[in-house]
């Protein structure tokens, strides 16, 4: 499919976009904390990918290649803004059985978690989300981000320590 996209097939590139947009979007929304920013980042990543498709050395791993472009776009976006990101209210995905007290508790916990995640250094947040939310192994993260496994472990360890401290300070 990459070969066909490289030869100018819009249909093939469209299929690549459809296949990998969820992967890139989930990471982008978690990283940026905003849906509209996440959409912009994903759009910009696919445009960069289209322009540089010939640099994809291993078409079998086009997903990891796209993810790296998307992850770099997220970091560029966050570094260019350098502002505190207001966290949008996330959808209620955990069953509360209509218990208003439990709903209020969960809402507060979610807000605290989001606030804490967005207080982490960008690289720490990226590593933490990939490891614990998106389910990557350290080896896969290393290959995709081109960062050593020990360095990634250090980032995740620091992220956990920082999260723990932040959540304690919020009283969660």
């Amino acid at each position: 499919m990459v070969d066909r996209a490289l030869k100018g097939s819009d249909r093939a590139f469209g299929e690549i976009v459809r296949r990998y947009q969820d992967l890139l979007y989930r990471h982008a929304e978690r990283m940026t904390g905003r849906r509209d920013d996440a959409e912009d980042v994903v759009q910009s990543a696919f445009i960069k990918a289209h322009r540089n498709l010939g640099k994809c050395r291993d078409p079998e791993r086009v997903g990891a290649w796209l993810f790296r472009i998307g992850a770099n776009s997220c970091k560029d976006h966050l570094k260019s803004k350098r502002t505190t990101v207001p966290v949008e209210r996330l959808p209620d995905l955990v069953a509360t059985d209509g218990d208003p007290e439990r709903e209020a508790d969960l809402g507060r916990v979610r807000t605290d978690i989001e606030r804490a995640l967005h207080s982490l250094a960008v690289e720490h947040r990226e590593a933490f989300l990939m490891k614990h939310v998106e389910g990557w192994s350290y080896a896969e993260m290393s290959e995709t981000l081109d960062v050593s496994v020990p360095a990634l472990k250090m980032r995740v360890h620091r992220a956990r320590e920082e999260l723990q401290g932040l959540l304690q300070s919020y009283g969660s």
Binding site: G14, K55, R110, L167
Partner: protein
């Protein structure tokens, strides 16, 4: 944080391998991580793929005229430190039009562009770009061994992105390009704009 708890969270130690006082904390972490995963977005919003493809189409339709206007705007040009360390310095010279018929009409609108890069320690230098589908098919030449590599390449009018590949491995950005475009990998592609005499 206790290193054994970190090892558990890294998946390197089973829960049973933790002392009792750490197990409760490990379970708290499991709950916290479950909460974080539960609030994760499930996927891209409807229509994102359509918007991406429309943006690509829009960029394509902007065409060379739009790109040239963009290139002519004054701007700061960043020079990547890696390229400077590599000792690479390139100059792009548009040599002229080829393919003019006797009656003055253009038979072939391609323009020969000369690429020059100063890479004194290189054994090989290739030019790669959108016009080679980023494959190292254009080898530059250093016939007199002075470390200045050059080659002429016929390019169609428009805006082209390119890089140099030193010794088959190091992708180097031209530090003297007219402009640059982020390549998505933390490096930048150099840009050369090619136009014909009639401005197309």
């Amino acid at each position: 944080m206790d290193s054994r708890l970190q090892a558990y969270l890294d998946g390197e130690l089973p829960l049973e391998g933790l002392p009792a006082e750490l197990r409760a904390r490990a379970e708290e972490w499991d709950g916290l991580l479950e909460d974080i995963r539960a609030t994760s977005p499930t996927g891209a919003p409807l229509g994102l793929d359509t918007r991406v493809l429309a943006a690509l189409e829009g960029e394509r339709n902007a065409g060379p005229a739009g790109w040239l206007a963009w290139l002519l705007r004054p701007r700061m040009v960043p020079v990547p430190p890696a390229a400077v360390l590599a000792g690479a310095a390139a100059v792009v010279l548009v040599l002229g039009l080829f393919g003019l018929r006797d009656d003055g009409t253009i038979a072939d609108s391609r323009v020969y562009v000369q690429f020059v890069v100063d890479a004194p320690t290189a054994q090989t230098v290739h030019l790669v770009g959108d016009f080679t589908e980023w494959q190292p098919t254009v080898e530059l030449d250093d016939a007199d061994g002075d470390g200045i590599w050059s080659g002429r390449v016929p390019l169609l009018p428009g805006v082209h992105e390119y890089m140099f590949v030193i010794d088959g491995a190091d992708w180097v950005t031209d530090p003297h390009a007219a402009s640059y475009q982020d390549d998505g990998f933390g490096q930048q592609n150099a840009i050369v704009a090619v136009s014909t005499l009639n401005g197309t």
